[in-house]
Symmetry: C2
Subunit: 348 residues, 2 copies
């Protein structure tokens, strides 16, 4: 299915003291076959501003995936956790953009549980969002967790002492130990270009690779080349802008980029009535192994894992203070991933 979103905006010249601006946002949907999807994807990547440091990122990824201390043995599993929302710039010299709300808490917390379960994690996150081992800290940890000490230095506040020490220690240990690779993005262009590079680096891991796609990805974008160079003036003459639907990379990731990887995507809705239906649709359409369905208001308490064999409800253990729904969620998905790896050995 092909969707072409076109935003055609034009203003009528001021007439006396009145003026009118009419913007038509036209979204046209046409049937699309896989050849067309491929074309749309190529067109997306061609239209994107070149990713900075792409060679460096590839090097980092290859080193990270290949590095393994001898004691850990071969066949270490690697998961790519995506986290936070992508932005859609509306101007090349970007002042305004459309953003998707996501604190990144799900991705950051899940990363900790994957590392605990023995995975190496590639953490593809939105700049400024929640970081692994730091998700329980206040918004501005430097100013909120530290206080001035007597010797004109500073010290960590008693109330945050354990959280800060644990956060810094565990975070640095995971990075230094080759268990955590952090790659930041801001725009939808950076996100999808980096996801493609990561997928390409993980391809050789075959069934030991997993994608845990918790990022909130934009639905449509303005192609870089047709984007207004300057800040859009709301009342200044003709303006033509085309908004294209972001090609559904999930299909391509699953089918072309890493056909053997275990793939989990997320579906967030605010309306419970349509949530499971939409999650099921995503499962089939993009051939995901699992889709995690979550509702905005209850997402920290429970989620539903939708699979080809039915739905599983996962809840936070309320009897344990500080427990998180990501703990049983990651446990369940790790088990499913284990089964997926074993199935391949059996069929050999």
């Amino acid at each position: 299915m092909r969707l072409v979103f076109s935003l055609i905006a034009y203003s009528l010249a001021p007439l006396a003291s009145h003026f009118s601006i009419v913007i038509f946002l036209i979204l046209r949907g046409l049937e699309m076959d896989s050849a067309t999807l491929q074309e749309e994807i190529e067109s997306f990547f061609e239209s994107a501003p070149p990713l900075k440091d792409s060679a460096k990122i590839t090097d980092k990824l290859n080193q990270f995936i290949q590095f393994d201390s001898p004691s850990l043995g071969k066949g270490r599993r690697v998961v790519c956790v995506t986290s936070g929302g992508t932005t859609v710039p509306l101007e090349q010299r970007c002042v305004r953009y459309i953003d998707n709300f996501s604190s990144g808490h799900r991705g950051a917390a899940s990363t900790e549980y994957f590392i605990k379960a023995g995975y190496k994690v590639i953490f593809l996150y939105r700049r400024g969002t929640c970081q692994p081992y730091c998700s329980s800290l206040p918004e501005d940890p430097l100013l909120e967790c530290f206080e001035v000490a007597d010797d004109s230095g500073f010290q960590v506040r008693q109330s945050h002492s354990e959280a800060v020490k644990g956060g810094i220690r565990n975070h640095h240990a995971a990075v230094a130990g080759g268990l955590l690779l952090k790659l930041p993005f801001t725009t939808i262009f950076e996100y999808l270009q980096m996801l493609r590079i990561i997928a390409s680096s993980m391809r050789s891991l075959e069934r030991h690779a997993m994608f845990y796609l918790a990022a909130a990805v934009s639905d449509f974008y303005v192609p870089w080349k047709s984007m207004a160079e300057h800040k859009i003036q709301s009342a200044s003459g003709p303006l033509n802008m085309r908004l294209m639907q972001v090609p559904k990379m999930l299909s391509v990731l699953r089918t072309n980029w890493t056909p053997m990887a275990f793939c989990v995507s997320f579906k967030l809705e605010t309306d419970t009535k349509i949530l499971l239906e939409k999650a099921n649709m995503a499962l089939k359409k993009y051939k995901m192994h699992s889709v995690v369905a979550n509702e905005l208001l209850t997402r920290k308490e429970e989620v539903t894992v939708v699979t080809g064999n039915g739905n599983i409800s996962v809840r936070r253990d309320k009897t344990r203070p500080g427990s998180e729904v990501e703990d049983p969620l990651v446990e369940l998905l790790v088990n499913k991933h284990s089964t997926y790896i074993k199935d391949a050995s059996l069929s050999k």
Copy 2:
């Protein structure tokens, strides 16, 4: 002048395997007198979700403005510095929103220079943006500035040691000394409601009050009551949304809320050709005392202060490493504010 932005979006039901969605974004502009502006402002505040903790904020403000150690004397000047961008939620249970890019560096750095010049600063800032005394620190200071120490604790890295110590010390000293009050916002609704409360608290300061409006404020908004409750489905039946222009609060702030305060607004453009013209227009239309014109790419090097007596170009002192354009900018505006206060005494 009255601008009504209407976004009327409707989808045509799928026809066979094809479907079309047509969204019309209609921006209509009509002449508006001040009575209508007043109506629009009332309608904006009525349509806004109630501000949480508004009584607490008022208390904090009154305490902050009234508090003065005896040694400092009477007539302390107070400036409200606004900083960072406001968001426009597109759904009540907010998943998607339009955002304005702003790191908050200008507001954070300027706050330091205002405090140095003897002002008390009300810092109205976007959550997560740059903080005073911390603007030279890396994006994620907790994880980037600290390292694990030998005794299984942690320590600040040598390279960041001075910046971190200075940042924490100066920041806490300013807050504890009653020189800095920090109030965070996220949405355009929170921002304008808080600005109104602040203006009301500062009214009694008369000419000793100053507004330094560096925040990047959204141009239009979706009234809360007409906002979609749930996440917008791009292809699911009729959808009607109205986008209204955010009323120009600058006029009302200047004329009604705090008629005696010294007001400085900011104009950011990416196109130098129209920048000064637009800044001049803002100066006259909103009766500002000064408008700071800045261009996106050069904004850290130079700005132009547009006043009724002509334009003044302000540049960073390149001979001093680490110097900031906010240093001479604030110096200039403090001098203008002094003249403004003196003028009143002379005319008595």
